[in-house]
Symmetry: C2
Subunit: 137 residues, 2 copies
DNA sequence: GTTCCTGCAAAAGCTTTGCAGAAGA
DNA sequence: TCTTCTGCAAAGCTTTTGCAGGAAC
């Protein structure tokens, strides 16, 4: 589902974020590439299009998006953060060999944290790791 | 359940790991302090007892323990790795405020990864985040 | 004009690597 | 003796911070 620049701008404005060119492009990238990208992947891809883009801006922007819940930061890779814009219920499988991340459906609502009655639960994450089919061969 | 030095040595030997003083102490610490410690916590605590201990050794040892499945490395904290020696089914709650980690019971066996039939699943992790009761006040 | 945003450079923090000396089999 | 282990120092990476110039309102 390709979103127009106008729609993306609106999305940002609704969150009280000024829709700068960089921010629009980063959000657009996240919406078009649901691959749980790293900062590096985002930077490398957009750097071609926006030669002046800096990694600092990518970091700033992603932290901002995280604060207003436009993205979820995944701490499932040992080395670097991954960013996910999909909000539907799903778990992640990360391959120990190639670090590729695969989504799989799982019903988070059926996960109850017994003994967590007094906790304010904001996010639920499920992740598996192991070897993916491509690396198994 | 306090383990004796002899028992810990045996545990290491069974994994073909030479039971050096440092390794025994680190494993003992992990067994006595089930608080998902960071490398720093382990180092600071044991440094008092073993003044010559270096952080490199703590890193080396934990990586070694991870390889032979004596510990599980948790990638649930943004900044640094956490180490868990408990193998029973449980999920983790990490507080966004104080980074404290709480265990809670959850049946991992009931978590199926649909569409992951060709995947070799080695570990299943469930983690929630939010605000813990102590920080809510 | 004033506030916010961007991006360079530098710093900070966690983790790994190289290597020499020490310890153990 | 020969292999393995330890620990210092340095390097490598990801991420954050300080700050000056630029853009937007």
């Amino acid at each position: 589902m390709k979103e127009s620049i106008k729609e993306i701008s609106k999305l940002l404005s609704e969150k009280d974020i000024r829709p700068s060119h960089q921010r629009i492009k980063i959000l657009e990238y996240l919406m078009d590439n649901r691959i749980h990208p790293t900062v590096d992947m985002i930077y490398n891809e957009l750097h071609e299009e926006i030669p002046t883009l800096s990694k600092t801006t990518v970091y700033n922007t992603l932290n901002l998006f995280d604060e207003v819940d436009l993205v979820t930061t995944l701490s499932i890779d040992d080395n670097e953060a991954r960013y996910d814009i999909v909000t539907e219920n799903h778990g992640h499988f990360i391959c120990k060999e190639c670090s590729e991340i695969y989504d799989f459906p799982i019903d988070m609502n059926s996960l109850f944290g017994n003994q967590l009655n007094d906790f304010n639960i904001q996010e639920k994450h499920v992740y598996f790791n192991g070897i993916c089919p491509r690396c198994s061969k």
